[in-house]
Structures are given as C-alpha cells and as structure tokens.
C-alpha cells in the first residue's frame, strides 16, 4: 500500500512541474530568438524560474520518500 501511495505521489507531483519547466524553457528560447543580445539575462531568469518550478516536484519526491520509509 505504501509503495502505491509513494508511486502516485511522485507521479502526480511531477506532472505539473514538468509542464511548467517545459513552458519556461520554451518561452525562454523564444525570447532568446527574438533578442539574442539579452541571452545572459534571460538564461539567468530562466534558471531561477525553473528552480522554483522544480522545487515543487522535489517536495513531492521528499514526501514519497517519507511514505516509503514509514
């Protein structure tokens, strides 16, 4: 039962962050194509935003590890 719960937690929890990171990367590439001279600034903000989105997925990862270890 714990295994199923952990699998569902990580599976569902990773869905939306994956979508978010995809969107972030796509729009960053698009804006770099528009303004190549702003590449470094865009890249920096992209990494920051991706880290925020990724953090949410990491939360569910930690939760699923905690469920497994119970």
């Amino acid at each position: 039962m714990n295994t199923i719960a952990a699998a569902i937690a990580i599976g569902m929890g990773v869905l939306m962050p994956a979508f978010a990171i995809g969107r972030i990367g796509a729009s960053a590439v698009e804006s770099i194509a528009r303004q190549p001279e702003a590449t470094s600034k865009i890249q920096m903000n992209m990494i920051l935003a991706a880290a925020f989105a990724e953090g949410l997925g990491i939360f569910s990862f930690v939760i699923s590890i905690l469920i497994l270890n119970k």
Binding site: Q35, E37, M44, I47, L48, A51, G55, F59, F61
Partner: protein, 274 residues
Amino acid sequence: MGISDLEVHLAPKTVFEIAKGVPVTNTMITMWIVMAILIGLALVARSKMKMVPSGFQNLVEWALGGLYDFMEEVGGIEAKKHFAFFITFFLLILFSNWFGIMMGMVGEELGFVRAPTSDLNSTIAFALTAFIYFEYQGFKAHGLFGYFGHFVNVKSLFTKGPMGAIDFFVGLLHIVSELVRPTALALRLFGNIFGGEIVLTVAFLLFNAALPLPFMMLEVLIGMIQAFVFAMLFLTFTALNSAHEDEHTEPAPTKDEIGPPVKVLIGRERPAEV
C-alpha cells in the same frame, strides 16, 4: 547486491560517537573533507600572489571576478556587499555536490562516502544561515519597527481606512512567504542531490558498465546549477530585504541599452495580411 535489496535512508549513517549522544555521521566527515579542500585551495591561491596573475591564481581570479561582476546583474551595485556570503554558499555547495559524485560512491551500502548536501541536516543549516543573514539585512536597512511594520502593517490599518485592511492582510501573507524561503531552499537542495544519488545508485545496480555515465554527467550539471540557484536565491532575497521602498523606481533603461525594437513574426502570430 541486487536492485531488490536497495534500501533508502534519509538519515546519514553514524560512523562513531564522540560522546554519548554526539554522533559523527558520514556526511559530517565528508563536510570536513570539503572544508579542508576549500581552505587548502584558498591558501594555495593566495600564497604566491602576484600583480600579474598566472597559472592557478589566474584561474581563481577569473572565476571569482566573473561571479563578482555577475552579482551586480542580479541585485544591483548594492548587492556586491554580500559577496563573502554569496561566494561561500556557492563554493561550499558546489564542492559538496561534486564531492559526492566524484567519489563515485552513491548508496551508503555500496560505500562510505555521501555528499554533505544529501543530508537534510546540513541543507537546513545552510538555509538557516542564509535566512538569518537576509533577515538581519532587512532589519539593518529598515530599522527594527520599520521591518516589522512590513509584516504587521498596523500603520496603514489606521491611516488608510478600508484599503489599509488589505495592506494589513498582505503583510500577514508576507510572513508566510518569508518563512517558506528557508524551507524551500533547504528542501530543494536536499531533494535534488539526494534524488540524484538514488538515481545513480539504481543505475549502478541495474547495469554498472555504462548506464551510470549519462546520469553522472547530468548530476555534474545539476550539482552546479543547484549551487548556483542557492547562492542566487540567497542574493535575491538579501537584495529584496535590504532594498528601500522609495528606491524601487529605477530609471527606465535607455534605448541603447535595450537595442532597437525588433519585430519578429513567428509562426501563428503572423498577421494575415503579411
């Protein structure tokens, strides 16, 4: 040992105890090794300093100088004051992350070494240090009551009437967002590095000839990005807290800074008449 024997432990393994109830864990030992490496590198880099750098000094100056200039892009010229903390977080976390990979030792069952940052205790310690520092900067910039006033906004409650109530409520929300910062910092770093170690262990146990290699490359990248993200978030929070409110209005960037407006038509955004 097969994949079915794999057990995941959140807590690090105790190696020995100094006294009763004072354990020394394997992550603590790797932390000390990382600290020794960093101190040693610093001593070597400054032992034979020359006006015109060459060799190792050149490398160190290039790396640190690049990061120092980079800080201005993130938090403005004021942010350069916090270089000491920024670079300490960056280097410590970077070396910690890479140390775990470099030893090639992923699970504790397979070996002794585990990255210091794959222990929740040390990432919480980093995050709390950062938290205390940027709260201190907030108090320093706004004064004791000025800074508390952001969170418990009694002043606008009395001066602005009904709109002040909204300000008061927003201030209460700021408390939550302020407390989430260290939590997110600690969990993000821990989750990334710990997850990476588990991925490496699983890859190693499945097919240890070639499968771990691409994951290792990924982990090297993630180790650097996470160190960078931690240091940059720390800098952003510090710059946010120490910024004065009336300085928020920056002069608009001039035309030369942005460059001429470029109109690019891509794909479906192209108007029909073109």
